[in-house]
Every structure is written in structure tokens, then in C-alpha cells.
């Protein structure tokens, strides 16, 4: 947890940015095993800060996007990683030790199986619950919000979430649809009628499950906090993520309406999409900031999905996707956070649009997957840090020499004057270890400035 100073609200965005990185570097509460490790940690934070500010660091930071691969590497299943935190700890510790990336490969994104099970989570299938024990979790899109529910969402997002959305995505919370909104609780005569649904037997049972899930989540966060804390202290690797948030269009598309229904809404009720996205903007900003502060790390991860080249046209991107995403980016930067935008798929046709002159320079990080890196560099040079994009196919089926050649090429043609982070283009669930090692070696060999 980062302690915000008393005068926090008087600080400028730049001062907040500095304060957040200072706090990350100070690593209060972390007991490093020795001074050398502590120095390594601080140097890595500085390396990241330099890159974000578009300065030349000592060398290119190495921060691949790792998913479930550490489980496979250490010989446990993805299911075990989500249910048995001792095994999770062993596997991720081994992986972090053997590969020695610049940043922590955290256990936090793996998620707690027992919590999902208690809540009877419908939005995802996870290992052993709909997917194979050794396969990552996967989203099950559906119309969790109906076409005629935009007004309800817009009028009261929290109420909509509690009484409409959660009962649909968590089987155990289905009875919550009978609850009234908290805003019913105004004066004395309202209290009784508003409270009685809470007493209904099935609602009571839903709350029991909710409490149980809470206890399980606490257990999980203590376990993962301990695992990650130990790795940071022994290996001097800072975390790479503070908060997580999403583009407002993706909240509607991934989370609420589903990809295809939302695309139809773009023709049938575009004004409702815009109104809903405006409502979601401050919520997404706040979510990201809160995570960054809680985890004492200014980086706010924003995985970008439905705005990619293959999903919509440039015009649709300009109309539906970019304006509210830009608001989220600006809102995060205003609070000293660093939006870490992960462009899944490709943005080859809209690099000029994201090189928006209204975004402050040196305050964002764009991670690319299949986007042309040389073009990305051309457009974002002097504006934003970029990273990428060793492909999953290369990591899984290439040779160490091919990986090294690819990295060398990135170093020469994209990373040449700083502002670059070496990463994988996708989240890695499957790999050949010698290829991942070749990626690190190549960065250390060719990525020194």
C-alpha cells in the first residue's frame, strides 16, 4: 500500500508521478536479503522509469507477459496453481529464480479457484471447471446485460452491477436480484421495506456464500502476497503491475453485452453506447488508481480487445473506442499513474490515432502483439514508451537462435534510442524454456545502451 501524502490533492500530475515511482523504489516493508539485491531492485525501478519518460536507460528492460507457463515449467497443472497455493508458490518461485527477468512474474493474475467455485462463476471456465486441468481460464461471453437495460445501467451502475449483473455471472448470487438498491435507504419508513428481502432464505444463503468467498479470497491474497513478497525480497524484482482497468468499450463488449450484440448496438442504439461509456469512464479511472495505490506501483494494466484492426474500422475506432479510452488514460495520468496499454491483435491502421497530441509525452506504455514495431516506433517516438513483441509461436516452436535474431532485430530497429521494453506479444501459457532464456540473453547482449 502506498501512503499518499497529506497534500496529495495539491500535487501536480508530474509530482504525483514522481511520488509514485519514489514510493515504488523505496519498497517500504520489503526486507531484501542483501544490499546487492536491494540495489538491483532500485536500478530496475529506475530503468522502468527512464523508459516511461523516454530517456535512455542502462539497458532495455525485460518484462515478458507470462500467463500459466510457470505451472507447466515446474510440473504442476493450471488447476493446481489455482487451488493449491503451496504448489503455486513453489512453481512461481522456481520460475522466477530460473529465468531472472527484470520484473516479478506475479502469482496474482492466476486467480483463486475456490472463490470462483463458491460464487459459481459463470463468466469464465477455468481449469477443471470447464477447461482441461492444464489449460488457462477462458471467458464465456453472453448477453449478461440485455439490449433494453442501458438506461438502468446508466442511471445507477453500482445498483445495476449488484442487482442485475452479479446475479447473472455468479450462480450463488442469483437471489440478489430480489434486493432493492441501497439508495432506497433514505428515511425511517423506508428502512423496513427495504431490508426485508435480505431476510429471504435464498438471499440469506447467497450472502453466506458471499461471506465464504470473501474468506477464501483473503486466504488467497495472503498466500500470493507472501509468495510474491518473498520473490521480490530475494531476487530484487519489482512488480510490473499496480492496477488493472479497461477501456469503456471493452467493459460493454467483454463484460456486459458480448461482442456481437454490442456490434449490433453500434447500429441500433449508438447513443446508448456513448451514454453508457461516459458513465463507465470515471469508474474505470478510479479502479485503476485504487489498484496502483493499493499495490504501490504506478503501472495500470489496460488490456485492449475490441478496438483492434480486425474488430472495427478506423472510423468506428474514432467514434466508439478511442474517445473514452483516451479519457481513462488522461484520468490515470492526472493521478500520476502510468497507463500500460496492451494492444492484443494489431493496431497497424490506427497508430496515427493513438499518437494523439493531447496525450502527455512520456507517461504511457504501449505493449504490442502483432503490430509492426518499426511503424509503432515511428508514430510513437517521443510520445510514448513501446514494447513487444516476441511471438508465442517463436517462443514455442522456434529455436533459440531464431529468438535471438528476432530480439537483436528489435534492439537495432526499434529500441535504438530508448523508450523500449522487451516483451512477448501475447500472454505465454506454453513455451520452450531455452527460447525464453535466449530472449533474456539477447536483451542483455544487444540491449545495453
Amino acid at each position: 500500500m502506498m501512503n499518499l501524502t497529506d497534500n496529495w490533492n495539491e500535487l501536480t500530475p508530474d509530482e504525483k508521478f514522481e511520488a509514485r515511482f519514489e514510493s515504488l523504489k523505496a519498497a517500504e516493508g520489503v526486507e531484501f536479503v542483501n544490499e546487492e539485491i536491494e540495489e538491483k531492485y532500485k536500478a530496475t525501478v529506475q530503468r522502468l522509469k527512464d523508459v516511461i519518460e523516454l530517456k535512455q536507460p542502462d539497458r532495455v528492460p525485460i518484462a515478458p507477459n507470462i500467463g500459466f507457463y510457470p505451472a507447466e515449467y515446474a510440473g504442476i497443472t493450471a488447476e493446481e496453481a489455482m487451488y493449491d497455493y503451496d504448489k503455486l508458490g513453489m512453481a512461481w518461485e522456481e520460475f522466477n529464480q530460473d529465468f531472472d527477468f527484470d520484473f516479478l512474474v506475479s502469482t496474482a493474475m492466476i486467480g483463486p479457484g475456490p472463490v470462483f467455485e463458491t460464487l459459481d462463476y459463470q463468466l469464465y471456465r477455468w481449469p477443471g471447471h470447464g477447461t482441461e486441468p492444464d489449460t488457462s481460464y477462458q471467458c464465456v461471453e453472453d448477453e449478461y446485460m440485455k439490449a433494453d437495460e442501458y438506461d438502468a445501467l446508466i442511471a445507477d451502475p453500482s445498483g445495476f452491477w449488484m442487482r442485475n449483473y452479479l446475479p447473472r455471472i455468479f450462480g450463488s448470487l442469483a437471489p440478489w436480484s430480489q434486493l432493492g438498491p441501497f439508495t432506497d435507504l433514505v428515511e425511517l419508513p423506508f428502512v423496513g421495506p427495504s431490508m426485508f428481502p435480505v431476510g429471504l432464505p435464498d438471499v440469506q444463503e447467497a450472502f453466506e456464500k458471499y461471506l465464504e468467498a470473501g474468506r477464501e479470497a483473503l486466504e488467497w491474497i495472503q498466500a500470493t502476497g507472501e509468495i510474491d513478497g518473498k520473490t521480490t525480497a530475494t531476487q530484487g524484482v519489482p512488480g510490473f503491475l499496480g492496477g488493472v482497468t479497461k477501456a469503456p468499450f471493452d467493459v460493454l463488449s467483454d463484460t456486459l453485452r458480448g461482442t456481437q450484440p454490442l456490434m449490433i448496438d453500434m447500429f441500433r442504439r449508438p447513443e446508448k453506447i456513448h451514454e453508457a461509456m461516459e458513465q463507465i469512464v470515471p469508474i474505470m479511472i478510479e479502479t485503476g488508481i485504487r489498484g496502483a495505490t493499493a499495490n504501490n506501483n504506478p503501472m495500470v494494466f489496460i488490456p485492449l480487445h475490441k478496438g483492434a484492426d480486425s474488430f472495427m474500422s478506423r472510423e468506428q475506432f474514432q467514434e466508439f473506442y478511442w474517445p473514452t479510452l483516451k479519457q481513462v488514460i488522461l484520468g490515470l495520468v492526472e493521478e500520476g499513474c502510468v497507463p500500460f496499454l496492451f494492444v492484443e491483435g494489431a493496431y497497424n491502421k490506427r497508430l496515427d490515432l493513438i499518437a494523439d497530441p493531447e496525450l502527455p509525452e512520456g507517461r504511457t506504455y504501449w505493449l504490442f502483439d502483432k503490430t509492426d514495431m518499426v511503424e509503432a516506433k515511428k508514430h510513437l517516438s517521443g510520445k510514448a514508451a513501446i514494447g513487444g513483441n516476441v511471438s508465442a509461436s517463436l517462443i514455442k516452436t522456434g529455436t533459440p537462435k531464431e529468438v535471438k535474431d528476432y530480439v537483436k532485430d528489435l534492439m537495432e530497429n526499434v529500441a535504438d534510442d530508448g523508450g523500449f521494453i522487451l516483451s512477448t506479444g501475447v500472454v505465454v501459457d506454453d513455451a520452450e524454456p531455452e527460447n525464453l532464456k535466449a530472449m533474456i540473453e539477447a536483451a542483455k547482449e544487444y540491449g545495453v545502451y
Binding site: 471456465r125 456490434m263 447500429f267
Partner: protein, 210 residues
């Protein structure tokens, strides 16, 4: 002059097109003619998609429009046993372990409106399901979809199983999905891959000698 049905549909003027269809039905127009117009419009939509004028949202909307049209005209359609000649038969599915469907569905839709007979076996499709379907419909082409990086091996296994079942020489195999590229094509033993639905259609047409 008002636009004709083909234009209305191709331009995605949903309400006007549906109103026109309803009044045509009332006037006693043969529903087969409406179907023909719809098909023609879909081909225009398909080529606008290929040319980059339309994108996924337009394609999805046109799919929705077809559903609405079928709902209106189905009660009036008499089965006259007339079957269109197809360019080729394709078995398509997302491989075992992966439940992603958006890309697969778009490919199926584009192949369908381009004149292929598409047998979609769904997501998370076990190897045996592919084999069974291939044996059942004797396709020209098999299309494997997958989005996760763990599908590389599953695709490879699926293609090997098709080979072991003695069916490999009868079919061309294409693969596609987020992380799929040339390297994975080689790795899995597929014949080729496509980056998007248009490439899938182009490949299928090429293989059918079109």
C-alpha cells in the same frame, strides 16, 4: 427513386429493408425471390468487407438481418427441393481445450456467403469429433481455429489423428486464430493458415480451383 431490396440490404438499411420484405410478402411476391435478393446483397456485403469498406460490426449486423429475414419469410417458403450448387464442403471447429468462437463464427459466415457448405462442429472440439465429421460429410477442406498459445500442440495432434485415420490425403487443412502464423502452420502440419476471414475464403477458393 427508392432503393431496391438488394441495395437496402447491402447498405444495411435494416428497418427499410425489413419493411419492404414484409410488404412484398403481403403483395404475394415469391419468397424465393426475396431469398435470391438477400443472397445477392450478402455477396455485396462480403465484397465490401473484403475491400475494407465494411468491418466486423457490419458483418455481424448483416448476419442478424438474415436471421430476421428468415423469420419473416420462413412460414411462406415451400420446400421445392431446390439445392444450390456448392463450391466445396468444409468442416470447421475450434480445437479441444479452447472455447473461443468469434473468429471461427466469422470465418464460417464468410465461407457460407461465398458459396461453401460449412459444417461447424463448435468450440472445444475433441479430435474424434473432427474425425467423425470428416467421415460423415467427406469434406474438401478442414479448418481448425484456436486462440490460446496452448492450441499449437492440439492442432498438431488433431492433424496427426486425421492422418492416422487415413483421411489426410482427402482434405486440405487450414488453421487460423490470434497467435497462428506460418511457423505454426509448419509445426502443426497444416497446409496453410489465414490471418482473417477473407484469407480463409481466398484459400478455400484457391484450393477448390476457383
Amino acid at each position: 427513386m427508392s432503393k431496391n431490396l438488394v441495395e437496402l440490404l447491402a447498405d444495411l438499411n435494416e428497418d427499410e429493408a425489413l419493411n419492404l420484405i414484409e410488404s412484398k410478402i403481403e403483395d404475394g411476391t415469391n419468397p424465393r425471390d426475396i431469398l435470391e435478393d438477400t443472397k445477392e446483397a450478402m455477396q455485396i456485403i462480403g465484397s465490401r468487407f473484403e475491400e475494407g469498406e465494411y468491418f466486423l460490426p457490419e458483418l455481424i449486423l448483416s448476419g442478424e438481418m438474415i436471421n430476421d429475414i428468415m423469420e419473416i419469410i420462413k412460414p411462406h417458403l415451400v420446400d421445392d427441393g431446390e439445392e444450390d450448387e456448392k463450391l466445396g464442403t468444409i468442416v470447421l471447429g475450434t480445437v479441444k481445450g479452447d472455447i473461443h468462437d468469434i473468429g471461427k463464427d466469422i470465418v464460417a459466415f464468410m465461407l457460407d456467403i461465398n458459396g461453401f457448405e460449412v459444417h461447424d462442429i463448435g468450440v472445444d472440439a475433441p479430435i474424434q469429433k473432427f474425425i467423425d465429421k470428416i467421415e460423415e460429410v467427406d469434406p474438401d477442406i478442414v479448418a481448425l481455429s484456436g486462440f490460446l498459445t496452448t492450441v499449437f500442440d492440439t492442432m498438431k495432434d488433431t492433424i496427426e489423428a486425421i492422418k492416422d485415420a487415413g483421411l489426410r490425403d482427402d482434405v486440405k487443412i487450414m488453421i487460423g486464430g490470434g497467435p497462428i502464423d506460418e511457423q505454426i502452420t509448419e509445426y502443426t502440419g497444416a497446409d496453410d493458415f489465414g490471418d482473417d476471414a477473407m484469407e480463409a475464403v481466398a484459400l478455400a477458393k484457391k484450393w477448390m480451383g476457383e
